[in-house]
Amino acid sequence: MTEKKYTQDHEWIEITDGVGKVGITDNAQEQLGDVVFFELPELNKSVNKGDQVGVVESVKAASELYSPVSGEILEINEELKNNPSMVNSDAENSAWFMKIKITDTNELEDLMNFEQYKKLIS
């Protein structure tokens, strides 16, 4: 069973069997414009909810990437290093930036569902 949630920092997390796949939202990529650089999270690192784990830069601005939950970073999307602009075409699918093993699933309850996020950005 897969569940997708959204954060105030304009990230999405798709949870499958206690592992979250994390990316920036389509709205975020639209606001950033042409993305040219990702500083990706550190592999195997343990992070707390809200920790800064990386940076995304567009020609216009730099924006921090945060971990939406506490956990251990299992995987990062190396493809974003060579092809950062893929986030402009596929932000909420192939352009995820990390997979994280979630330590406390209760933290997910603070996050928004799609309807709530849509309201936030409208």
């Binding site: 414009g33 650089f37 830069e57 020609v59 216009k60 730099a62 402009n88």
Partner: protein, 371 residues
């Protein structure tokens, strides 16, 4: 958002929105930063073909070129305005008492419809109030200044701009870089200069608001033209090594701090007869404007600090972006002269990391002006 009501709006704002513009507040104007295809696409199209920019936020002034006004303007603008050729444009600035730059500008001398010589000035929107104050104070007469509020200003830039605009405006092909003249469109006088701020061949067109949409539509009939916003304009001018007020230039920066001494007329420099001259001509400054190419992928932004390899602070980034032409992050910085040789290795502090960069020649992209 609260200030949105107070923002000035381009008279073609709805047209820009219909064409996918994303608008942001800039210098009290609601301005297109980019259109649907994004900044990089607009940049590439300008470098490879043709980009069209609505820069009507800029301040356009006309001042009668009487002897009296010329003498007064020469006090604050360090050009030989008296001997300035008709139908020519020059880049320069308005200076303060300490030689700091109040604004940078393009000033042209031309004849108006009555055959009288006038100066036509294009100045930064962000400096509008200050410029008007300083100029009217020096002229001691507000009536000598005519703001061209009835006119839009468009820039058409890139290697195909000459070909495209020649089809629409007869005789324009004769215009060479930094020349200006009156032309006709829809049986109405328009003022066109061969200039822009991208490093490309191109034109700036001052045209009455009543007919400007006709011109824009006519230009956009050429499918290779893309509408471009301020985002791509900023990258184009950075690649071309051109200064932006508020970034490289401010009231505490003198022309000699930013390698702009060429924009002061030689005889004015010799006679030192403009305000602030003694601060500009003494050659005591230790600062210089350089280009930097980052050896990393992260982008240097304005105000980031620049260090030598001993961790000593040597200056600051004034502008930085990703260069779609070089496919690398580039920047301009004002740093100590000792470190300004091409290929000097320096470090930019970016989010706490010291990132290596190399001093590079500017412009990053060679100018393509038609001279």
């Amino acid at each position: 958002m609260l200030n949105e009501k107070k923002l000035n709006r381009l008279n073609l704002e709805n047209f820009h929105i219909e064409n996918g513009a994303k608008l942001i507040p800039f210098s009290n104007y609601n301005m297109p930063i980019n259109y649907k295809n994004g900044i990089i696409s607009e940049h590439n199209n300008t470098r490879n073909s043709c980009g069209l920019f609505d820069v009507s936020h800029m301040l356009q002034l006309e001042i009668n070129a009487t002897n009296d006004n010329t003498k007064k303007l020469e006090k604050i603008i360090p050009l030989d305005l008296n001997n300035h050729k008709l139908w020519k444009s020059s880049y320069s600035f308005i200076l303060n008492n300490e030689g700091g730059i109040i604004d940078d500008l393009i000033i042209s001398k031309l004849l108006n419809n009555f055959g009288d010589p006038i100066y036509y000035l294009v100045l930064n929107a962000s400096r509008r109030n200050k410029d008007l104050k300083v100029i009217s104070e020096i002229l001691n007469n507000k009536k000598e200044i005519n703001e061209k509020k009835q006119c839009n200003l468009f820039a058409i830039q890139g290697p195909n701009s000459r070909k495209i605009i020649s089809k629409i405006i007869p005789n324009i092909n004769k215009l060479r870089f930094m020349e200006i003249n009156n032309f006709k469109f829809d049986n109405t006088n328009i003022l066109v200069s061969c200039s822009g701020y991208t490093g490309e061949d191109g034109f700036e067109i001052s045209i009455n608001k009543n007919i400007s949409i006709n011109l824009i539509k006519k230009i956009l009939e050429n499918k290779e033209v893309s509408l471009c916003g301020l985002g791509c304009r900023d990258i184009l001018r950075l690649e071309a090594g051109l200064c932006l007020y508020g970034n490289e230039l401010n009231e505490n920066t003198k022309p000699n701090d930013v390698n702009l001494m060429w924009a002061i007329s030689k005889n004015r420099l010799k006679n030192k007869d403009f305000i602030g001259a003694k601060y500009i001509c003494n050659n005591s400054n230790n600062k210089v404007r350089v280009g930097l190419i980052s050896n990393n992928n992260s982008i240097p932004r304005s105000n980031f600090e620049v260090f030598d390899n001993q961790n000593k602070l040597i200056g600051n980034i004034t502008s930085g972006s990703f260069s779609p032409s070089l496919k690398k992050p580039i920047a301009m910085a004002i740093i100590e002269k000792n470190f300004s040789n091409i290929n000097t290795e320096i470090f930019i502090k970016n989010r706490g990391n010291m990132e290596p960069a190399t001093v590079s020649k500017i412009p990053f992209i060679s100018h393509k002006y038609k001279k």
